[in-house]
Structures are given as C-alpha cells and as structure tokens.
Amino acid sequence: MAIHPPEKRIWWNEPLEKSEVTWITIAFIWGLVMFFTMVFWHFTGEQNLSNEAYRIHPETFAERTEAMVDQYTVREEGETGLPVVHPPPGSDVYMLARLWEWWPILELEEGKNYRLHLSSMDWQHGFSLQPENINIQVHPGYELVLTLTPEGIGEYGVVCNEYCGIGHHQMVGKIHVVAAK
C-alpha cells in the first residue's frame, strides 16, 4: 500500500503497465503541443503583449501625457471633466493610472494603429479594457509600450482590476472608438 514501503525492494526495475506508458507518452506530447502553441502564436497570432518597456520617473510620464492632452483635447466628459483626447492615428498615445482614475479619455479611430503607453503614478493598477476583456498590469516606474488596433465603433470601459485601495471601485476610464476619417 501507499502507506507502507514498496514490497519489492527493487521497485525501480518493475516493468510498467502498458496503459500507463501510453498515457505518459500522450501527456508528454500534449505538453509539447501546448508549449509550441505559445511560441507559434508569436509568429501567427495577432494578440501578443509587447516586450517594449522602459524604466521611467512618474513625473516624466505625467509630463508626456500632459503634452498629448494639451495638444489634442477635443472636449471634456464625466462629472470631473476628464479631457477627451483625439490624437492622430499612428501616433504615441498615453494613458496614466493614478489613485483613482485613468487619465485622460482617449478617442481612437477604428482600424488604425496606435502606440499606447501605460504607466502608474503611485501604486500598481490593472488596465482592464471592457468588454474586450484585455487585461494588462500597470506598474509605477515602468512604462509599457504596445501597439493597439481598435476594432468596433463604440464606447469601451477601462476598469482598474488591480486592487489599489479604498477608491479602487471608482477607478473607471474610457476609450471611444470612432470611424476613421
């Protein structure tokens, strides 16, 4: 029994049951398939998280975001008057996370590429784009740069899904996707 020492002292020479060998082989091959699916997706899939990241001071990131907001704000929205920014397609766009808001609101054109920069001013936050359900961790001191192609005209929520203190549930931002001009 499993609670007694093996009854044959030389247990490692016992022949294996055929069904066990077959299962181990199948399981091993399945592991290889799953491993190479991830590798394969880097070459053929369209959803891979960028490896481009930099260390950055929160103040520097805030300055760059403010520069974009100053240049491209088209209107304000929400109770707190969040700026809505419409940067040109192909450009660098910034969204900063801080207690407890995503700033600013972005207005992007459908089917165009944008270089989205994400970073936090204080604690960790979670960029959770809904209802697409794209979720990316946002750290203070790190700037992640990814290329994003919005699909589907409409309003998208940006929920914070990394717990960030008592106001965590108020932290909602927005991305508008509009028709390309």
Binding site: G126, N133, H139, N161, Y163
Partner: protein, 574 residues
C-alpha cells in the same frame, strides 16, 4: 544497520503506543503535535471560511453586504487565514504523520517542533491582529508600493520561520528513521510525496524570506524603495510555489486515503514517484503565472517558466490523474467488482466521507482547477483573464476543491486514528463532502464564468456607482456573481458541517479504545493482501480509468483551443 557513535546528549527515550488499526508504532510526542497542528488548522479554516462567506455575500450584487473598507479587510483576512494558515498548519500535521507515524519512528526533537508550532501560531495571530486593526488591507499578496503595518509582515515572517523549523524536524525524523532502521527498503509513497512537499516548502519559505524581510524593513522606514516587478517575481516564488506544496500534500493524501479505505496499492511505484519528482524539479518556476502581462519581462522567460519548462510538472499531475483512480479501480476489481466498465466505481464506498471527499477532490482538481490553470497560464491567453474573476475561479478549483476537500476527507481518518475518538454526527459527516464539494464547484465555475465576461477580482462595486464615468458589465455577469454568492453560502454550510463534526468528535466524541478498534476495524481487513501482488506488465485491465482519463483529455484539449479562439477575437495588439 551501521553503529553510530553518539556524542553529546543521548537520544530522547520516546514513548510509543501500537495502533490497533494499522499496527504502526506511534510516537506519543508526534501524535500530540499532529493533534495540535490539526486543531489550530481547523480553527483558522473556520475563521477564514467565515471571512470568505462575508466576501461572497458582498460580491453577490443583490446582497452587497459589507461597506468597502470592511470588504477589503475581510478579503485580506480570508486569503491569509485559509490559504496560508489553515493549509500550512494542516500540512505540518501531515508531515509529522508521514514521517514519524508511517515510518514508526520517534519524532526528531519534539521541543523544536513545539517551538516551530508556537512561532507559527504567534505569527498567524499577529498577522490577523494587523489585518483586523484595519491598516493592513493590502490583500494576501501585499503588492508594493501599497504598504501594510509593519507587524503584518512581521507576522508572516514569524509564521514562515516556524514553518521552516517544522520542516527541519520532518527531515530530522527521516534521518533518524533511516539511522535506526525503523522501516525496510524505500519510504512509503505517501512519505515520498511528503518529502516532495517539504523540499518545495524550503524553496518557498526561502523566497518568502528574501522578499518579506526587506519589505518589513521598508515598512519601518529602513529601506527607501522596493521595485514592484522584482517584488512580484520573488513574492510569487513563495506564493505560487506554496500552492505546489499543497498539490504534493493533497496528492499524497489521495494515495493515503485510497490505501487506507480500499487497500489500494500504486499501479507502479516507479511512475508515481517519478511524477512527484517532476513536481520537485519544475513546479517552482510557476511564479511566472502571475507575471504574464507585466512590463519588463521577456516573452521567452514567460513561456519557459509559465509552462514549467515543457509542461513537465503538468505531466506529473496528469500521471497522478491516471494512477490514483487506476489504483482504486485495481483494488476494487480485486475485490470482485468486475462487472462492466464502472461497477468498481458504482460500488465504491460513497457513504464513507473520507473516500467521497477524496474522489470529489481528485475529479474537481483535475477538471476544474487543473484545466483552467493550464489555460490561464498560457502566455497570451492570460491577456483575456489576468486579474478577472477567472483567477479566483481557477484557484478555488485547486486549493479549495482540491487541497481543502482532500484535507477534510483525511480528517475523517485522522480523528479515529490519531485523536482516538469516534466520529460524531455520522449522517452529517456523510453529507459534508457532497455539500462542500457542490458549493465549491459552483463557486469555481461561476467565478470563471464572470471572469470570461470581464468582471474584475478584488472589487467592491461592479456597478461603479461612484465612478466619474459610467461603465456596465453585461447582465449575465451579474447573474454569475449572484450564483457565485448562492454557491458560496452552500460551501460555507459544508465548511460549517465539517467544523461541527470535527470539533464535536475531537472534544466530545466517544473514546475509541483498543477493544473497540479491534471489534470495529476502521481499515479494510485483508484488503492489503488482496491487492498485494500486481503491477507487472499485462496483468492489469483498467477500462474504467482509461474511460475517465479519455473524457478528461478530450475536455482539456477542447477547452484549451476554445480559449485561443476567444483570444483571437479581441483587438490586435503587439
């Protein structure tokens, strides 16, 4: 046996009793430590489970029980009390059982073992005090730069040191057993599994020390900055690896229950031990599961680590997934349940809560926790699941349906064998694994459902009523969270049944005297002999297990690729 020249103090003169059920020599000091560790474990399960119920009732949108600050406090306490304190106290009991009792050996240095116990208890209490004071609602993970009160980290450090002492006592006991020749040949498979758990525990606790000690110094102002990404890499070296201790421990418990209830013998010692070896070699690198969408970590690192090299640790679990039910089927067939494919399963002792809990744990760990874990841990698929309710859905399938249910199941053997008390409320005990199992299955599945609809974990208000801009999750997501609440209540009921049965039996149960043990043996008589001699090639037919494993594999493959399909439908990003 080699003669050893003893220097210094002589070995302790241990007192033993002979177990009337198993014939094992039981060191009374070890027995006492097992009892105390198990009792404290159950107390923390009760506390942590209560906080879990509060969390479930708050996330049930129609109930929304607690205010925000209490919700985050309860969630922090829930994680620490059940994931750390309940499970690790119980695991220490298992380590002492698998070493001193199964090897009929005296426990090494019981005094040190008590020191470990008190350190763990002091640490666990200190961390609880810190959380209840309200200044440490940082979640179980305590991601920097969010800061808890210094005694929160100090509590965790004390707990970790105590655990390390206990693990050292376990290794010491193995050395003594070998030295004094208390067993013949190799250690039993269950002990082997416990050794795997203990080796991983050393790695885990070291990771915890490496990150929690600087974090404590940072919280008292002696260190100015802790890098948040490095914190996560090292913290999860503790946080995820400790889950692998659980896997080793509960797989060892599966084998132990199958052996004790049915006299089941491993199909092949070689294969089962090899599977545990895969855990030791590859499980630790799973810190990557929590870093798949972090900045500053390369995809190569992520893929290699998240897959445990080439899914070699998953291979270990898949092997146990065949060899545990296979051992049960073989034992049952030897007793004459040979009709059809599934007579062995139909005629299994479903009224015995130890067996029922063990088998439910096995099935749910595989189908719910295991499959979802591999999918969630695929580098790119993680993008559509990270930090959603899918994550707690997954780990309630592993840690609650898997580990907790397995530990509950073996309690029904521990109480009569180690506490020497009869189980009280037999009917309640019979139903307990089913009520708890159904509740946990519901929690896991509905949380995963809510997660695929985007619902955030660790979130007080998914209606965002106080937010400056509006956003609504789909109606189905609210339904899922409501159902999660309903099944959370059911799981809490199952947990309460367990606590009532265990506390009642341990303190008020009828004493199980030697006469009574001989009159009503707990373990099958002759079962061990009936299955004592197989394992060689060609003697064994296991159509039932093969069918179960095939169903599992097909479900696994389909679910895996469905999720790649889901991923392919979201916005392109690179």
């Amino acid at each position: 046996m080699a003669s050893i020249a003893h220097t210094g103090t002589l070995p302790r003169a241990a007192e033993f009793r002979t177990c009337p059920d198993t014939g094992l020599k039981v060191d009374l000091a070890a027995e006492k430590l097992i009892r105390w560790n198990a009792v404290v474990a159950v107390v923390f399960l009760a506390i942590g489970g209560f906080f879990g119920l509060l969390v479930a009732l708050t996330r049930w949108p129609a109930v929304h029980l607690l205010p925000a600050e209490w919700f985050y406090l309860a969630l922090t306490a829930h994680g620490a009390d059940v994931l750390l304190f309940w499970i690790i106290f119980f695991e220490i009991a298992i380590l002492y059982f698998a070493s001193a009792i199964l090897l009929s050996c005296r426990l090494a240095t019981p005094r040190l073992a008590w020191l470990g116990f008190w350190l763990m208890l002091a640490g666990a209490l200190l961390a609880n005090v810190a959380v209840l004071q309200g200044e440490s609602s940082v979640m179980f993970t305590s991601y920097v730069p969010m800061q808890a009160a210094p005694h929160f980290y100090l509590g965790l450090i004390l707990f970790a040191v105590g655990t390390l002492v206990a693990v050292a006592v376990f290794f010491g006991t193995l050395v003594i057993a070998k030295d004094e020749g208390t067993y013949e040949g190799s250690v039993p498979l269950v002990t082997f599994g416990a050794i795997a758990a203990a080796i991983i525990a050393v790695f885990t606790i070291t990771s915890g020390a490496i990150i929690l000690i600087p974090t404590f110094l940072w919280s008292v102002g002696l260190i100015s900055h802790i890098d948040p990404v490095i914190y996560k890499v090292v913290w999860w070296g503790m946080g995820h690896s400790s889950q692998q201790i659980n896997v080793c421990a509960h797989v060892a418990v599966w084998y132990a229950i199958a052996a004790m209830v049915l006299g089941a013998k491993p199909l092949s010692e070689k294969v089962s031990r090899f599977a545990f070896l895969m855990y030791i070699l590859f499980l630790q690198i799973a810190a990557a599961h929590h870093l798949l969408v972090e900045p500053g970590i390369s995809s190569e690192w992520k893929i290699f680590n998240t897959s445990y090299a080439l899914y070699l640790a998953v291979l270990g679990s898949l092997i146990h997934g065949l060899s545990v039910p296979g051992a049960i089927e073989a034992a049952q067939r030897r007793r004459g349940y040979t009709k059809g494919v599934f007579e062995w399963l139909r005629k299994a002792p479903w009224g015995n809560p130890a067996f029922a809990g063990m088998f439910l744990s096995l099935v749910m760990f595989g189908f719910i926790g295991g499959i979802s874990g591999v999918v969630l841990g695929s580098e790119q698929i993680n993008l559509i699941m990270h930090n959603t309710m899918y994550v707690p859905g997954h780990f309630h399938g592993t840690v609650v349906a898997g580990t907790t249910l397995a530990f509950m199941a073996i309690t029904y053997l521990v109480v009569p064998l180690v506490f020497r008390r009869e189980i009280m409320f037999k009917k309640l005990a019979q139903w307990q694994p089913y009520v708890f199992g159904l509740g946990v299955a519901g929690i896991s599945l509905f949380m995963m459902g809510a997660g695929t609809l985007g619902v955030s974990r660790r979130h007080w208000d998914i209606t965002f009523s106080d937010a400056p801009v509006a956003f609504d999750y789909p109606g189905t997501a609210f339904l899922m969270m409501g159902l999660n609440g309903v099944f959370g209540v059911l799981a809490a009921l199952g947990g309460l049944m367990y606590v009532v049965v265990v506390v009642g039996s341990v303190f008020f149960g009828e004493r199980r005297t030697e006469e009574k043990a001989r009159a009503e043996p707990l373990l099958p008589q002759g079962g061990a002999e009936a299955v004592a001699s197989y394992g060689s090639e060609g003697t064994l037919k296991l159509p039932g297990t093969i069918t179960l494993v095939t169903i599992f594999f097909v479900a696994f493959v389909l679910y895996y690729f469905v999720n790649w399909k889901f991923l392919s439908e979201v916005w392109p990003l690179s």
